[in-house]
Amino acid sequence: MAYDYTPFPYTAPAGLTAPEPRHPVVIVGAGPIGLAMAVDLALQGVRSVVLDDNNVVSVGSRAICWAKRTLEIFDRLGIGERMLEKGVTWKVGRNFFGKDEVYNFDLLPEPGHKYPAFINLQQYYVEQYLVERALDLPDLIDLRFLNKVTGHADHGDHVSLTVETPDGNYTLQADWYIACDGAASPTRKRMALPFEGQTFEEHFLIVDVEMETSPFGTDTPERWFWFAPPFHSGQSALLHKQPDNIYRIDLQLGPETDPKSEATEEKVLPRLRAIVGDAPFRIDWMSVYKFRCAKLESFVHNRVLFVGDSGHVVSPFGARGGNGGIQDVDNLGWKLAAVLKGDAPARLIETYDEERQHGSRENILNSSRATNFMTPKTAIEALFRNEVLHLARDHGFARRLINSGRLSQPCSLAETSLQTAGDAPLRPGSAAQDAPLTGPQGDTWLIGQAQGDFTLIGFGGTELPDIDGVRCVGIDSHDRAYTCFIDRDGHAKARYGSDHIYLLRPDGHICAAFTAPDRAAISAALQTAKGN
């Protein structure tokens, strides 16, 4: 059944009749990133106003692949389980060259994780779940639809903005202005910030079709990717399953094609028939895109912070747009909350830029490489690409070179200033790894116990020191003043070892590891992690 785009209600904002008191945070844009930002801040007790010029969720599926790390962040925000339940977990991938299958692979889930490598779920569901989550927190999140931001000015210690509504214009003031206004960010344009990178000439036709019969000929959701597909003259095609019997089809069109005439039923239907056969289907959504990879030189401009597509865009191969944006949110949320509460110096915000520039560069590098592999620019590049595909039939090494998107992985923050260098099975800078645990409340997961606050994790006989503002978690420890868990299947020890104490940041990244419960060393690492 087609998704029901019920508009969210608009109510006339208070600012239309009388000036509003200055807000700690205004978030511009209620896409997945702006909404997640508001929920993250709310969970740390920070109030925000969210302004969006529209009043419905994303039209069309857009982002469909959500990676494990993103799902773990959404778990902390309170919608991870709902996404997992609704989403499609695919297992089998098949790569074709022309009409021949080059190879296939089975993504066996790695045991001992709450979330799989990724799920497919339409962006509109993610936004709907986030809006509903935000509505659970009415004292902390003030959601304003049909509120279009038309101007802003940074006054050093606060930002003022003008907002247009169906009932007229008003102004607002905020300590911090978070621009989550998407790839075409009006905020970025107003500030005339350069947004440079690589634009790919090819057009991509993206179509969602609804059909009862699986084109894969099995009940298992698969992912099919064609290089030089036999059914249209472009260079690649992708078929991927989403919930509600919706299938995503990406068709790469040549650079010379006219996007308008390509996105018509008469042009699209024969191509779809060639992929899905004679089974009846309905076109749910289609759109033609040209992709680019670009980013701002800095995501922090005094009191104006760029988060999500407003700060960086990537081509969608590797699913790093939405996933990258959620990692921005995860990185910024606790820092901004700590600064607003006076618990950390304003300098901590600068490290959001430092750490996420690093992540963004990695995302751009991987997305560009995948796009280049799919769209060779020269005869020699095409030659290498095709011969990799030929060799891939026989050779594993060549299979690894095939690049139709490298799935987003959490990036390591090892080299950045908040981490204390150290050696441990999980190195400082890496994201925490999940493991099934059993605690006083029954079965649980490590990521559910270790995110949201600074957390110390210790194993066995280790006695963790009591440090202000730090949660302690014992694994296979007993009779402690803090909560202890049993490492149910041994995954925690396999991943973390049992000889180290780990200090985790509220975003679940390891910022230090110790071999002894040395209070002074742990406190020093905590101060470093807070930017002191």
């Binding site: 991987n366 490489r369 280049n372 592999f373 020269t378 005869a379 020699i380 590049e381 290498f384 990799v388 030929h390 060799l391 026989d394 050779h395 594993g396 090494f397 690894r400 070179l401 690049n403 490298r406």
Partner: protein, 64 residues
């Protein structure tokens, strides 16, 4: 025959560097570069028996 994967996680870096090495060359210049590269790599491998296996792997399907 399945040749062992020696590049592993560095495969994407290698592939990008390989393509970048051809930047701005004409097609015939690129073919010449490829020929030089094969000769240089053969010398690095330096083991005739090993090279015979690689030549055979590359030859497979060449006329198919």
């Amino acid at each position: 025959m399945d040749l062992k994967d020696n590049l592993g996680a560095t495969g994407d870096d290698f592939y990008a560097a390989l393509i970048a090495t051809h930047d701005g060359l004409s097609e015939s210049q690129s073919h010449a570069l490829n020929a030089r590269l094969v000769l240089i790599m053969a010398n690095e491998i330096g083991d005739l028996a090993r090279l015979a296996i690689l030549l055979k792997a590359a030859r497979k399907d060449a006329t198919g």
